[in-house]
Symmetry: C2
Amino acid sequence: MTESGKPLKVAVLGCGSVGSQVVRLLQEQATDLAARVGSPVELVGVAVRRLDAAREVEVPEGLLTTDAEGLVSRGDIDVVVEVIGGIEPARSLILSALEHGASVVSANKALLAEDGPTLFEAAEKAGRDLYYEAAVAGAIPILRPLRESLAGDKVTRVLGIVNGTTNFILDKMDTSGAGFADALEEAQALGYAEADPTADVEGFDAAAKAAILASLAFHTRVTDADVYREGIAEVSATDVASAREMNCVVKLLAICELREQPDGEEAVSVRVHPAMIPRSHPLASVREAYNAVFVESEAAGQLMFYGPGAGGSPTASAVLGDLVTVARNRRNDVRGPGESSYADRAVLPMGEARTRYHVAIDVDDRAGVLATVATAFAEHGVSIRTVRQEGRDDDAQLVVVSHEATDAQLSATVAHLQGMDSVREVSSVMRVEGGAE
Amino acid sequence: MTESGKPLKVAVLGCGSVGSQVVRLLQEQATDLAARVGSPVELVGVAVRRLDAAREVEVPEGLLTTDAEGLVSRGDIDVVVEVIGGIEPARSLILSALEHGASVVSANKALLAEDGPTLFEAAEKAGRDLYYEAAVAGAIPILRPLRESLAGDKVTRVLGIVNGTTNFILDKMDTSGAGFADALEEAQALGYAEADPTADVEGFDAAAKAAILASLAFHTRVTDADVYREGIAEVSATDVASAREMNCVVKLLAICELREQPDGEEAVSVRVHPAMIPRSHPLASVREAYNAVFVESEAAGQLMFYGPGAGGSPTASAVLGDLVTVARNRRNDVRGPGESSYADRAVLPMGEARTRYHVAIDVDDRAGVLATVATAFAEHGVSIRTVRQEGRDDDAQLVVVSHEATDAQLSATVAHLQGMDSVREVSSVMRVEGGAE
């Protein structure tokens, strides 16, 4: 970079935990940012809901405004940073910003997962950038590597621990033997879970991120409505103990897979659910509230990206990284890579997702039960890999681990088992991921 | 990408294990590459030393040539991929390619570490891109994240396991208790180490990568001549066992640190040496020949990037990722970010590097020896964190772990100890990294 140009004007929408760190870094790192962009980066406005709210950062005199729409439509803004979150008014503001000639950096996973294509098309039409690294896995650079570093490779699977709250809870259950409720309470006490933990615990947050990851990995539009979702509220201390016996650990995974279909076409499977993974898998050692994304591709093999998945300052790091790229692009009057959805693959229904299963069944302890249960699995095309029987007084527990089967086959098997006289209860069904078949 | 342009012409220099995989992927992924670049990517020539050599890939009729210089200076090449390695003729060919209007993708760590600035200046002058993701840690996207994703953050430390051969050997020593010579022999038998393992075992390969990482992380020119280097040939089974007792593991680390100096300026410390790291550190679980780079930055916190560090196909994935970006840039007549060396920080001599130390000392087993040894540490300003004494017949061993001190202070302490009557031998000195002070 040999010359310096006129300042690039940046507006920030939202000044909460992420926004305030963005504002702080824009001020503290001004000299470095100017050197890296090639032009000074000037903060010209910060839109907030209330002018008099308490903030973690001091916003320079005169920059605060409650008129977000007025700010993004000024016409002289080069880059708008959207860190409000939620669908509206974020969507309208981003669309308005693009229409008025600004490029956009957003951390808004919910909006991108629900309505990304509307935003991408607006960016394309405006000839502006829309970057959103911070929307998935906080500070971890994962979207840019998927979109750019792996652009010459073929990604076949992404397994992500992309929600810190649920990873903290499951890790606590694994290390202390606590049940879900106690672990959640501890997470709330430590600030890792919100008072209403639904979005995290029920997997909504992870599902939005799965949609974003799958779209990028497979060059196909995937929205959160396409993502099968199961949370961790049903994971019991017994499930965690069973995983331990199998030398596995339970993690809430965002899973994006490319699957060859009988007709030779490749389709996409995207789902979020708790699963057992072997302790030897790199994802198994992701502790506490950390995030990690494990990527498998044809040429590169197995890659993992690890780091803090949330928090104001880490998320702001991702936002600022995008901001430098987008600002450089504005300065040079170019665009980075836009949406890539050329492959336009079909998204499979959950019934066609294929994986392995760990099924615990309480049965009468009498001769022939194992044979009956095995027959039920066989009837639905689910091949058994291992079975372990444990006697307990007058009943027994069978623990079956299957080979790969479809979700529909497994569901039919479970329904069949539940209707059998000798089966008292199918006490646990959990998917097994991350190992060789 | 809505339109399609004229084909982009690509020349590949070298058709060994990486080059042949690049050629293969260019052919197999042609449709995807065209969609991602926005124009077809056409392989127009492959330069090799001998036309009749055995190759892992079939090169299309008429593309092979022994005239590499003629190929890069044709004048119609859009992108030259250099996977020959070594200093010459690679440097001359890259410079010629840039002069003749091509952008360049290179995997050449040795050349970039020795003479990067010459290449960067030539790329700047020509207005072309020079990308080199594959030069460090094979398939792992680490240079792009450092250069782009973390561009809004301040990187303070990079710890890398960037040489698969030495990691395989040290991992084997840790898991089997083998000595260095046996572990090396096994690595050679399995193809993880070359017949002449000097470049890997003595840390030359890692030092080149350290120079490249430090340059990017700290926006400062660092060449391999600036990198302090120690290999693993002196690491003994006893060292590995001592590490195990401390709940540590020995790894060959490439360490790049930003250090505030007494005058308030920040300087860069870059070194490669074996070190003990706690088993709880994310790098400790990097097994076999895998690589990983651990990055600490002010806003993002701790990140790790993990994957295969070598191999034809993984390295080709990184080359192709760069190729897609560079080809897009050619198509759009723009450049990506060039060299960033604006910070121009001083590189510290090894004597000023600060870390902790594990020192094993064989001493006479008599009263007062511990006090004498402790005094020697204190005289040179090295503060002791823990000391453990083990009696053995008529002599004893002291194991000292220090607080942070400079390398010069530690060296002076060791020289002092070696001159003491009661000290029979300083049997092991190893640095301790990756933990809180």
